[in-house]
């Protein structure tokens, strides 16, 4: 057989369909005419001849179908017919079709979006090979939970020891610094990480341009090469993506480095600007990452490392808490921990939403299907095979599912960026790359399809079990459905109500939790406070008096600026996470173990600027600050914990480690001696917005002064509008003085805290989800109620004709689904009660609250009532005679 001929005729049939019909018809018409002429020649009358010819040959207009069948395109034509019929029948019930499509689209869109974000933020954020083997070692003091252990920096020698541990494959050391680019017209502050030569191999970072730092760049025992690798971000920002950047030199803190490569954009390790090779120096301390050998577990390595860390503790006892254990986590766990509860909760919510959407689709299709039995019976009686009927319904369901799923996919693509933008800033690794997750996309689309297909072809399956004759002879043109169909339907409605109630209650709990967080008293006033950070240039103001005088001069300049109410200097004291942890002891209360406490180093203006009230005693004076008086102030939490029975004022305490401060800090002589408590101040949030306020000690910063300070400025108007004026004031004192890091007002800063951002994100998403869910449930119930009541219009008309009151019919219509509603609400409440415990763990600030459940149930009842009342009213207000005449 010649395939070309076949293709030609198919092409003609499909593409030039109308030409074909004309040609086939014309050909047959010619044949009929010729035959008729022949018959006339044989003696028949023209009229009789034409009739006979047509009888012999058939209708020219139906000839096309014979042609289509002959060339084997009949099934295709039938499906096109099914499609056309399907579209018409979807269009005939537009409300049902639209609600079903929208339900599917929203369910699929929300599920895909949220799951994709969870997957990319938590389960697979890193491009590095084997991220599950790259670990951090936390030192955990007794009484703290593991994730609050701190990352203990080790000396160069200690890192070499670490590398020898059997379960460890490799170790890298890192140091980060804020460095100034010199030699250019404008000094620019950049984030620099010095990393050991093996770091880039360790993390498997390929070069984007040039080469990465290699072990040869930092040979053992020698100074490292003056080479630099820049990140994609810095390359774009500073060099505008210059392709010839490799080989150029850059001056950092007056030292020249040659650029040897650019890191690819996806590898945003530590979100830095520049990487330099690092030499492990014995005395210095380094951050580090270890890579475990394959198959070594985190707990096994923790027990291997413990003797080594005990040895480190003996070498430098002051660096370690007296008692500790080690907790090893891989880099995937950190972010998972921060957001996991929230994200799982959200994922649960979207799965509920998807289920509600599918429930909507199934309820709607069942309602419609049960009234189509009559139509289907007629088709069966006219000779449609069961296969044809199932295929017809299948095509309709697929139309619905494809449209819904298509819209859902579009929605997901549009929504993912919006969600990612609203994620808390530090809640996911900078390396995370957000994209639609294909497996979950397929899963939710498949679920949508299955729902559509199962419930869409349901009527055909039920039809197979009944005789078409019975249905048709029953004489009722529309059948409300038999008891079995009703039961399925009622169960689905109850299930949907239960799911919606669950979602709404969870959402309401999460939102009220966030509201509680927002209303929590901070203990200070963050309104109109500007927070900025000053860092001294290296090797300037090295002596303590010089340094203090310089900072005081700048502070005074800012405080004198018009529009500024007060200005204060501190370090370790910027809320809401403040206090540097240090061991301390109280005079006359010897304890074998030195407890650690948050120490805040402040000036005399700090309390006034933040409006933290002095409860008893007094603040220190400016004179006391300037000469470094040995005094401290404590908060109420401190007084409660350490002096439950007597007055702390007059007692003394000391920080033994103050005399041996970290590099760059200047301690006043005698600052490790006894410091007298002179005042108690109100509790202010100091360990995060979600956590209880911890005991804290406030110390004059003139006792210990680092080469950087925080300045808090209370302004009369919005804080950020004062920034330029304040910058000018600082420049008046010292034009070279940089303001480092990000300057912000304290309220914005607090708003950016992960707890807040998380709370806000959860609240927004939950708000959106519950609104969607409620709307879906309401619209679904409304369409179903409307549809079913419309089917009963003739029944109502007959009842009214026999004297039934409108009010009675209204009640009948209204209460037709009351059992489903009650069962749904009760089941939902039971599920909520059962899930309360696990849910409360996931929701920050959750409160056991039956008021929430009650109000949500009421909201649902009202919604359901309205959704059924409107169609019921419409049915009851029909004129019975009109209806009956129409029948």
């Amino acid at each position: 057989m010649n395939i070309l001929g076949a293709i030609r005729s198919w092409w003609k049939a499909l593409v030039h369909s109308s030409d074909l019909a004309g040609e086939v018809e014309a050909e047959l018409q010619f044949h009929i005419d010729s035959r008729a002429q022949h018959l006339v020649d044989q003696g028949l009358s023209p009229k009789e001849a034409g009739r006979q010819a047509r009888v012999e040959l058939g209708q020219p207009s139906t000839q096309k179908e014979k042609y289509i069948e002959t060339i084997g395109l009949r099934p295709l034509h039938e499906i096109v017919g099914d499609l056309r019929f399907g579209l018409r029948s979807l269009y005939r019930n537009p409300s049902i079709s639209i609600v079903a499509i929208v339900s599917l689209a929203l369910g699929i869109g929300a599920t895909v979006t949220v799951f994709s974000v969870i997957y990319d933020a938590m389960l697979h954020p890193y491009p590095y090979p084997a991220p599950e083997r790259i670990c951090q070692i936390r030192v955990v003091s007794p009484g703290l939970s593991d994730q609050f252990g701190y990352l203990h920096h080790l000396s160069g020698g200690q890192l070499q020891e670490l590398r020898k541990v059997t379960g460890i494959e490799d170790v890298i050391g890192i140091q980060t610094a804020n460095v100034v680019i010199t030699g250019a017209d404008v000094p620019e502050s950049v984030d620099v990480t010095r990393a050991t030569g093996n770091s880039f191999q360790f993390l498997g970072i390929p070069p984007f341009l040039g080469r990465m730092i290699e072990p040869i760049d930092a040979p053992e025992g020698q100074d490292p090469q003056s080479v630099a690798v820049i990140t994609y971000k810095f390359w774009q920002r500073h060099y505008s993506g210059d392709p010839k950047v490799v080989g150029k030199s850059i001056q950092l803190d007056h030292q020249d480095y040659r650029i040897i490569g650019v890191i690819p954009p996806r590898y945003r390790w530590m979100d830095q600007d520049i990487f330099l090779p690092l030499k492990l120096v014995r005395g210095d301390d380094f951050g580090h990452l270890v890579k475990l050998k394959p198959g070594v577990t985190a707990s096994a390595i923790a027990s291997q490392l413990t003797p080594l860390y005990r040895q480190f503790q003996e070498e430098t006892p002051s660096e370690f808490p007296r008692q500790f254990h080690l907790h090893v986590t891989n880099i995937l766990e950190g972010y998972a921990h921060q957001l996991s509860g929230t994200l799982y909760l959200l994922f649960g919510a979207v799965v509920l939403l998807l289920l509600i959407g599918c429930a909507n689709v199934s309820i709607l299709l069942l309602a419609r299907g049960s009234t189509r039995r009559h139509e289907l019976s007629i088709r069966a009686a006219l000779g449609a095979s069961r296969y044809r009927i199932v295929r017809q319904l299948l095509v309709e369901s697929l139309l619905l599912s494809i449209t819904g799923a298509g819209l859902g996919i579009l929605l997901a693509y549009a929504a993912i960026d919006a969600v990612v933008k609203r994620l808390p800033e530090a809640s996911f690794a900078p390396e995370a790359d957000f994209s639609i997750n294909i497996p979950i996309l397929l899963f939710s689309v498949a679920l949508g399809f299955v729902t559509g297909i199962v419930f869409g072809t349901w009527p055909a399956l039920r039809l197979a079990r009944s005789q078409p004759n019975d249905v048709m002879q029953s004489g009722v043109s529309r059948v409300v459905g038999d008891s079995h169909g009703k039961r399925t339907h009622a169960t689905l409605i109850a299930g949907q109500i239960a799911l919606t109630l669950l979602l709404l209650t969870t959402a309401a709990t999460a939102i009220t939790g966030f509201n509680r967080l927002m209303r929590m008293p901070l203990g200070f006033d963050p309104h109109n406070i500007l927070a900025l950070r000053l860092t001294l240039r290296p090797y300037t103001y090295t002596s303590l008096p010089q340094r203090v005088a310089y900072f005081q001069q700048i502070r005074q300049g800012i405080a004198d600026t018009p529009g500024v109410i007060s200005a204060s200097i501190n370090f370790f004291a910027n809320p809401p996470h403040n206090g540097g942890r240090m061991p301390f002891e109280i005079l006359g209360k010897p304890s074998s173990e030195k407890p650690q406490i948050g120490a805040n180093f402040i000036d005399d203006q700090y309390l006034k600027t933040l409006r933290i009230p002095v409860i008893r005693g007094r603040n220190w004076t400016e004179a006391e600050l300037n000469h470094g008086a040995f005094v401290v102030i404590v908060n109420q939490a401190f007084a409660r914990q350490y002096f439950p029975d007597d007055d702390p004022i007059g007692h003394s305490l000391r920080f033994p480690r103050l005399i041996d401060p970290p590099a760059g800090m200047q301690a006043a002589p005698g600052s490790d001696g006894w410091l007298q408590i002179i005042g108690i101040v109100g509790d202010a949030v100091n360990s995060g917005l979600n956590e209880p306020i911890e005991p804290a000690i406030y110390v004059p910063y003139t006792l210990l002064t680092p080469p950087y300070v925080q300045i808090l400025v209370r302004t009369q108007g919005p804080a950020l509008t004062m920034l330029r004026v304040i910058q000018k004031q600082i420049a008046n004192v010292n034009p070279d003085q940089q303001i480092s890091g990000r300057t912000s007002d304290l309220e914005t800063w607090i708003g950016r805290q992960p707890e807040w951002q998380r709370g806000r994100l959860v609240s927004i998403l939950f708000g959106v989800f519950s609104a969607i869910a409620l709307a879906l449930a309401a619209v679904g119930l409304y369409s179903v109620a409307g549809y079913r009541i419309a089917q009963r219009t003739p029944e109502f008309a007959v009842r009214m004709a026999f004297g039934a009151q409108r009010g009675h019919l209204l009640r009948v219509a209204l209460f037709s689904s009351v059992a489903s509603v009650i069962v749904g609400l009760v089941a939902g409440s039971l599920i909520i009660a059962a899930l309360h415990k696990p849910l409360a763990g996931l929701i920050p600030n959750a409160v056991q609250n039956y008021a929430v459940l009650t109000s949500v149930s009421l909201l649902m009842l009202v919604t359901i009532f309205v959704a059924t009342f409107i169609p019921a009213l419409r049915a009851a207000s029909n004129d019975p005679m009109k209806v009956l005449r129409r029948e």
Binding site: N2, G5, A6, E27, F30, G58, T70
Partner: protein
Amino acid sequence: MAKQVDLLQGTLEVLILKSISLGPLHGYGILLRIQQLSGGRIEIPQGSFYVAIYRLEHRDLIRGEWGESENNRRAKFYSLTAAGRRQLKLETAKWGEMTEAVNGILGATS
């Protein structure tokens, strides 16, 4: 008129091929030609006639082209393609063998 015989399954197509092997004909012409060649002994089933034509064209054994009929009307004229000519030869040979074999069986005298 001689008694008409029913057409064997599948023979209509080879008859159509044969009838246009001498020159292009339109559908009605083919019908007349077959009746004429058979001496009026073969009656073509009208319903399946065009189906056979469509199938032959679909298989690229014949090709239809619009032209002018003897009474100046537009009509579709069919002619054999190269494949059609081969098919006709093949079918004719097959038919010969077939009739020979059938005759042999029917003519056996024991």
